[in-house]
């Protein structure tokens, strides 16, 4: 920390000496060493913005993964209208020039000594650490469930990756053709894009209707608590739509085991375990922090976000309260809501602006309001553009789009707009 304080002080003196407050507004001359753990949506967006606004800093990004997935597109792959290739890119195409990419994972976070150790044994010291490792999908927490089962025996899951989303599309089509009972739902804990389990339910309903097979399928949504969505007006709307579309809802049902051979799913409920027969099931796994984060001192030590290892962070600045030179951005951040790529788009400028301000000797001012967005696809060709903040207020970006109305224009944004906006975000331009 001493080096960091020195750097901050030196930059502050430099800015006073130059006397160019306006020129310093967007950039910092700091020579700080910034390490970014994770080259996903948040990591790449951070790297791109930081490269431009801290030209003298040494920026290192650490991630073993070479492929980059546009995860919001997994829903459209699962719907059978996009191919896996449309959501698969290469990280190398988005790593900004002048940023060093260490192709390994972080094995150990050592915030007390301001360093990380990679899986290849390399120790990298930092002045600032930005943790953007995303989260782990914990399929194994569901007894009997395994990623390799996706696409077989009526089991689907659009979360695991593009190929699995594609296999899920085939499983949905087979189910609609054969008929029977289809189960949907979500895990109890924090999860990325909490709208996706609802979207895939709507999509299955819509596809069955358009093929004249709705009478042959029974659709059941198992909500993890007494609501289908955590934002009240959205919950009311989706509940009403489910009722109108003959989609049954079981409340407070959390999937805990699956028997693929017998096609039975066991749910933990308030009145004990219940086993339901199915012909098709869309599994959304519990989610938690990656192991290296879990094993570190970074997660919350108590409270609701502690068990799954979400990193302790101030919800307005994403700064770690115990390690002030550490920030958590994206899915890994232990803040209420905010686990969407759209949230990343708003979190990244806040963290970068504050880091730039701090290293330039100014006081950090930027604040993240919890912006979370989820274009709720309600069928092929229609969606509701739902955006909300920490308090569950709907905060529509476009005043002419009603967030609680099924519109083609919202679908247009989902199908034609999001990928370009996402790529622009990765380049730090949106």
């Amino acid at each position: 920390m001493e080096r960091r304080q020195f750097l901050v002080g030196a930059a502050a003196l430099a800015s006073v000496g130059l006397g160019t407050e306006a020129a310093q507004a967007q950039t910092s001359d700091s020579r700080a060493r910034v390490v970014i753990a994770g080259a996903g949506a948040a990591g790449l967006a951070l790297a791109s913005r930081l490269r431009r606004s801290m030209p003298n800093a040494t920026i290192t990004i650490i991630d073993a993964k070479k492929e980059h997935h546009f995860q919001p597109g997994f829903t459209l792959v699962g719907a059978g209208i996009w191919s896996p290739a449309q959501v698969t890119e290469q990280n190398v195409d988005y790593i900004p020039r002048g940023v060093e990419w260490v192709e390994a994972a972080v094995a150990e976070f050592d915030p007390d000594a301001n360093g990380v150790v990679t899986t290849t044994g390399q120790r990298i010291d930092y002045d600032f650490l930005l943790v953007a490792t995303g989260l782990n999908l914990n399929y194994e927490a569901i007894e009997g469930m395994d990623v390799s089962l996706i696409g077989r025996d009526g089991i689907a899951s659009i979360y695991a990756g593009p190929e699995q989303a594609n296999a899920s599309a085939t499983a949905i089509d087979r189910f609609i053709e054969a008929g029977g009972v289809g189960l949907f739902g979500r895990p109890a804990g924090e999860m990325k894009c909490a709208g996706a389990p609802l979207k895939i339910t709507f999509i299955t309903d819509d596809k069955a209707r358009s093929r004249g097979r709705r009478g042959a399928v029974e659709l059941v949504y198992n909500a993890h608590n007494p609501a289908v969505f955590s934002v009240a007006p959205v919950n009311d709307k989706v509940t009403e739509m489910f009722a109108g579309r003959d989609i049954a809802v079981n409340y407070s049902h959390v999937l805990k085991a699956i028997d693929p051979g017998a096609k039975q799913a066991t749910y933990a409920t308030e009145s004990g375990d219940i086993t339901l027969d199915y012909d098709f099931i869309h599994v959304v796994p519990p989610m938690r922090a990656p192991n290296a984060v879990l094993a570190s001192p970074l997660p919350w030590q108590d409270g609701a976000l502690a068990a799954d290892g979400w990193i302790e962070a101030d919800k307005a600045t994403l700064r770690h309260p115990r390690y002030p030179n550490v920030f958590a951005v994206g899915d890994i951040a232990g803040v209420p809501r905010g686990k969407t790529a759209a949230s990343v788009k708003w979190q990244v400028p806040v963290v970068v602006d504050n880091l730039v301000a701090e290293t330039a000797g100014r006081s950090p001012q930027a604040v993240y309001n919890g912006y979370t967005s989820c274009p709720m696809v309600t069928g092929i060709g229609k969606a509701m553009l739902i955006e909300f903040d920490y308090d569950g207020n709907l905060i529509p970006s476009f005043p002419f789009i009603d967030p609680l109305k099924e519109l083609w224009v919202s679908w247009l944004i989902e199908e034609k707009g999001l990928l370009g906006a996402y790529r622009a975000m990765l380049r730090g331009r949106a």
């Binding site: 229609k382 519109l407 199908e415 990928l419 370009g420 906006a421 622009a424 331009r429 949106a430």
Partner: protein, 122 residues
């Protein structure tokens, strides 16, 4: 979306369309140049612009109407996906692109055709 400014829109379009963006810009410039050349030709031949203008408007309008119903298909939705006035408005805005191209092309063709008519009369 408070920072949804022109620069951001440019980068989003550029990332969405890749090289096509510049293809469209080139086409727009080409059409603009052709329209200017067409107007100058009409002036030179002392021919009224009414006929080519009306033809361009009719062709552009018909194309826009047809494409308004095709735009949802381009988004992998059914032709009947337009559910609200705002949907129709956006579909029309997109359909104006081919509508504008066809309208401009018709104007230019008719304007240059006046050359031939003038030559034939002479």
């Amino acid at each position: 979306m408070s920072d949804f400014d022109l620069t951001t829109i440019y980068f989003i379009l550029s990332e969405s369309m890749g090289g096509w963006l510049w293809g469209f810009v080139a086409l727009a410039l080409l059409l603009l140049a052709a329209i200017v050349a067409g107007i100058m030709t009409l002036r030179k031949n002392d021919t009224p612009a009414r006929r080519p203008l009306v033809a361009a408007l009719v062709a552009g309008l018909v194309t826009t109407i047809i494409f308004t119903f095709l735009v949802p298909i381009w988004t992998l939705a059914g032709a009947g996906a337009l559910a609200a006035p705002i949907d129709v408005l956006f579909a029309v805005l997109f359909a104006l692109v081919p509508g504008g191209v066809v309208g401009s092309a018709v104007f230019v063709i008719m304007a240059f055709a006046s050359n031939r008519r003038v030559a034939a009369i002479a």
